[in-house]
């Protein structure tokens, strides 16, 4: 199979949802290592999508999950209240967590 055929095989049919799930599982921890990991994770998830529109939706999902995991991590560490009190700092982190996966997912636009 050519790369294009290989991508098409992954993005369609019954296996596509499983592939997307695997990409999600890999993308979330990727985003905890470095902020570029958020972009890379978004790209990884986006490339499993059948269309660019679908990729952006998956990027939004990943961003949402990242936000939830981040908030959960702070809650588990017992500092969620303090994190919220930081105001701008916390807001910037949430924005980055949500937006960067979407930007990464847009890479699907190249094909």
């Amino acid at each position: 199979m050519t790369p294009g055929e290989w991508a098409g095989w992954l993005r369609t049919g019954p296996r596509s949802e499983l592939v997307t799930l695997v990409a999600f599982v890999l993308a979330v921890p990727l985003g905890t290592v470095h902020w570029l990991g958020l972009v890379a994770g978004g790209a990884l998830v986006g490339l499993t999508a059948s269309s660019t529109r679908r990729a952006l939706v998956l990027g939004v999902y990943l961003g949402g999950v990242t936000v939830l995991v981040f908030v959960g991590w702070l809650w588990f560490a017992g500092v969620l209240g303090k994190a919220i009190a930081t105001g701008q700092l916390f807001g910037a982190s949430l924005a980055i967590a949500f937006v960067f996966p979407v930007l990464g997912a847009a890479v699907r636009g190249f094909g």
């Binding site: 980055i96 847009a106 636009g109």
Partner: protein, 803 residues
């Protein structure tokens, strides 16, 4: 399906990422979720083991965030102390040394250039290096080197505090001189002052003002006067103090003083301590209380720790950057400190010819160096550092003086504090006290065998002019050789036990006092050496109140633990007791509303409680009364309220004193006129501002050094209405900023103690001990036990290794 549209979208998103990377890399590195440096210290588990070349040690934090540090060797202990302090307070340590070295602007920008200029010109860094030279070869050298290694190990391997990330800089290597520089910050903050310039300026600008600044305030509440029983050891008393020198300067130093006043000893810097012997305590054992009143910061100015080494176990507080407790208790002795306020700073004027000054009959070359102050986001500044035989030269607005300050020479107080920690009884404690040079302190101590002790400890310079001893409350003519401290070598080693300083045995002391206290008031009415004037000592209100409460407790029998706590919690203002009758006597001249407000003061218990309307009325009235009395003489002459005389002096002015006359009106006003006007203004102000009680104006605002910006305001402590005032034992000064108050409260008996800090012990914002429960307990006058069992599972283990 790929179209030009989707490709364009992908390119646009990619560009956004690249742009963000290039333009916002710092912000991304700081705030990225999980990996951002702001979140680095959220989870501090995993730092369990640290290699050290000094030997094993353990650190176990108790439930109050106090590290219990244990080691089998002294060096291993202090290595662990260094590592632990850096882990918990590195930002503050770095800030303190930067401030004193004049290196703030490189990280803080142009706002701190004048601070850097002053600190460079004073060359505190050079003084710290001189002190390090003196301490090498003594018993503190090895502990200090081990401490330094511990700090640097943390800097190299630990996670940097959030503040470094927020401001994007890194700390440089720590040195032993940095520790001593932090010590200079404390000693300058307690003893560095330019009251000689202030006095000369007021004398020149305000005719007849000398009466407002008497040599001694007319109270009889000096420390020695109030001390009960005990054996006073003072070889010579009732001798007149030294003469004023012939060259009392009439020059105006307003411009110079205005520039320098922000760097001198702060308002509200004082303390309380008292001691009760076993004969007078309900427990039959001695008790000691101490609460130093210093500036209130987030995190607090003190770092609490418990150290168990081969020689002793000690629990106490130190400034971050200083290895050993400065106030505390070990297994055998406990000690507490208040500031004497002694005059150990003198200023000298000269005839100048370029960089030469006339002194000792010849033109001498001042040493001159030029340094660059690197300013973040701004042009660099240069600073000229000149020194004479007396010390560093300060020049502002065309006025020039040189400064002698005792801390510019190699003083020995680190040896004293190290000795206190290890003292096995009063004898060893008193031996260590001989090294206590600076800042002159009222030191009370007790030992487990029942001894108590008091001494105003410090090294006191003797000024000589024309062959006679003179006082230091003047600007000396350095060209005429006035006011010389014989043997004093700024930035060199002085003979502190020589003829230029008061002999140790001449300083009075009290052995085994039964019950006594100190609160920065005048030490003694008559000493045979010059210690200072009313400008150097606090008003006596707190000192009197300590005495009054001790007296009351003793009248009932013995002093209990609960009564010791009640004293530290006491909010009764003897200043209010003195001033309120003045307001009540003036009701006939007040407006109807003001008269009704004044009625609140009739029958008031003089307690400065946050819920008290009377305390609010009194507090605001006193501010107006003071201003209305002096502002017409001082402000037109360019002098603000920092030049006003002591509160005690205001209270004792006769009813027809000329200072009450408002110079802007034709009639001659009296005290009652001004008291009534002040109450009219108070009533209008309270109405206008909508205040209900004292807590509305007496608000606790403890801020972080970065807390002035919106982005970092979260680092400030929460605000609360507060009890207490500047003249109450439960001490709190809402103004100016930063606020000041009881920075540590401690009550100890043999083998047990209680205490509380105004905030958490750890500087890590994410820690539960950043604010901690201590702030709440401190506000409410509550305590916790000092000696606790932190459990057997260490948080940090130090193991043999390369370090």
């Amino acid at each position: 399906m790929t179209t030009w549209g989707t490709r364009l979208l992908a390119v646009a998103c990619l560009l956004l990422v690249v742009t963000g990377t290039v333009l916002g890399s710092s912000l991304l590195a700081l705030t990225a979720p999980f990996s951002g440096t702001a979140w680095e210290t959220v989870d501090r588990s995993g730092e369990q083991t640290v290699e050290t070349p000094y030997g094993p040690a353990t650190v176990t934090y108790d439930r109050n965030g106090v590290p219990h540090i244990e080691a089998d060797s002294t060096e291993a202990l202090y290595f662990a102390v260094g590592y632990t302090q850096a882990r918990d307070r590195l930002f503050q340590m770095d800030l303190f040394r930067r401030q004193m070295a004049g290196n703030l602007s490189i990280v803080a920008g142009e706002a701190t250039v004048e601070s850097d200029r002053f600190h460079r010109q004073m060359d505190f860094e050079g003084a710290a290096e001189t002190q390090w030279d003196r301490l090498q070869g003594t018993e503190v050298e090895d502990p200090l080197r081990a401490y330094t290694a511990g700090v640097n190990t943390y800097i190299d391997r630990g996670t940097l505090p959030m503040e470094f990330r927020l401001n994007d800089y890194r700390p440089t290597e720590w040195t032993p001189a940095d520790t001593l520089l932090v010590g200079k910050r404390a000693t300058w903050g307690l003893s560095g002052e330019f009251s000689d310039l202030r006095r000369a300026t007021v004398k020149n600008r305000v005719p007849g003002s000398t009466e407002l600044y008497p040599d001694q305030l007319d109270h009889d509440s000096s420390v020695f006067e109030l001390a009960r029983e005990g054996r006073t050891a003072s070889p010579a008393t009732n001798h007149p103090t030294s003469e004023r020198g012939p060259g009392m300067s009439a020059d105006d130093y307003d411009g110079l003083y205005d520039s320098l006043s922000q760097f001198e000893r702060g308002q509200g810097i004082g303390s309380n301590n008292w001691i009760v012997s076993g004969n007078r305590s309900a427990t039959g054992e001695p008790m000691l209380a101490n609460d130093p009143h210093l500036q209130l910061f987030a995190p607090p100015v003190w770092y609490e720790m418990q150290l168990s080494g081969p020689e002793a176990s000690v629990h106490g507080v130190a400034f971050p950057g200083v290895p050993m407790p400065l106030i505390g208790q070990n297994e055998d002795v406990a000690w507490g400190i208040t500031n004497v306020g002694a005059d150990v700073t003198d200023v000298y004027s000269y005839e100048w010819r370029g960089d030469q000054y006339y002194h000792d009959g010849t033109w001498q070359n001042a040493t001159v160096e030029t340094e660059t102050i690197t300013v973040r986001d701004g042009p660099d500044e240069t600073v000229e550092i000149r020194k004479t035989v007396h010390g560093p030269v300060l020049e502002r607005e065309g006025q020039t003086v040189a400064v002698s300050w005792l801390g510019l020479t190699g003083t020995r107080e680190p040896l004293a504090f190290y000795g206190f920690s290890r003292a096995e009884g009063m004898g060893e404690f008193r031996d260590a006290l001989r090294n206590f040079d600076l800042p002159a302190s009222n030191i009370v101590a007790m030992s487990d065998d029942g001894q108590t002790f008091y001494r105003p400890s410090g090294t006191y310079p003797i000024r000589r002019s024309n062959g006679t001893n003179v006082r230091g409350d003047q600007v000396f003519n350095g060209s005429a050789g006035e006011g010389t401290w014989r043997g004093f070598e700024p930035y060199g080693q002085s003979t502190l036990t020589g003829e230029g300083f008061v002999d140790y045995e001449r300083v009075p002391r009290i052995e085994n006092p039964q019950a006594m206290g100190t609160a920065n008031q005048r030490v003694a009415d008559d000493l045979d050496f010059y210690l200072g004037t009313s400008s150097h000592f606090a008003d006596s209100y707190r000192g009197q109140r300590v005495d009054e409460m001790l007296e009351s407790s003793l009248a009932d029998g013995e002093i209990s633990r609960e009564e010791m706590k009640d004293m530290q919690r006491d909010t009764r203002s003897l200043a209010a007791e003195q001033f309120v009758p003045i307001a009540l006597d003036a009701t006939g001249k007040m407006s109807d509303d003001a008269r009704r407000a004044t009625e609140r003061l009739d029958g008031w218990d003089y307690r400065m409680k946050k819920g008290s309307r009377a305390a609010l009325v009194y507090d605001r009235w006193l501010t107006h009364y003071r201003n209305m009395t002096f502002s017409d003489e001082f402000y037109p002459n360019g002098l603000d309220e920092s030049y006003y005389p002591k509160l005690w002096t205001l209270a004792r002015l006769p009813a027809d004193s000329r200072w009450f006359d408002d110079r802007s009106t034709i009639p001659v006003e009296t005290r009652a006129d001004i008291a009534a006007r002040a109450m009219n203004a108070t009533d209008a102000e309270i109405e206008r501002e909508g205040w209900d009680d004292y807590g509305d104006v007496n608000q606790l605002r403890v801020n972080h050094p970065f807390g002035g910006t919106d982005a970092a305001a979260f680092l400030n402590y929460p605000r609360h209405p507060m009890d207490g005032g500047p003249y109450t034992l439960f001490n709190f000064r809402a103004e100016p900023s930063p606020q000041a108050g009881s920075s540590w409260r401690m009550i100890v008996e043999p083998d047990r103690g209680i205490g509380v800090r105004p905030g958490g012990n750890l500087g890590n914002y994410w820690s539960e001990h950043y604010v901690g429960d201590d702030l709440r307990m401190w506000r409410l006058g509550q305590y916790r036990n000092l000696w606790t069992d932190p459990g057997s599972q260490p948080d940090i283990e130090f193991v043999e290794g390369s370090g």
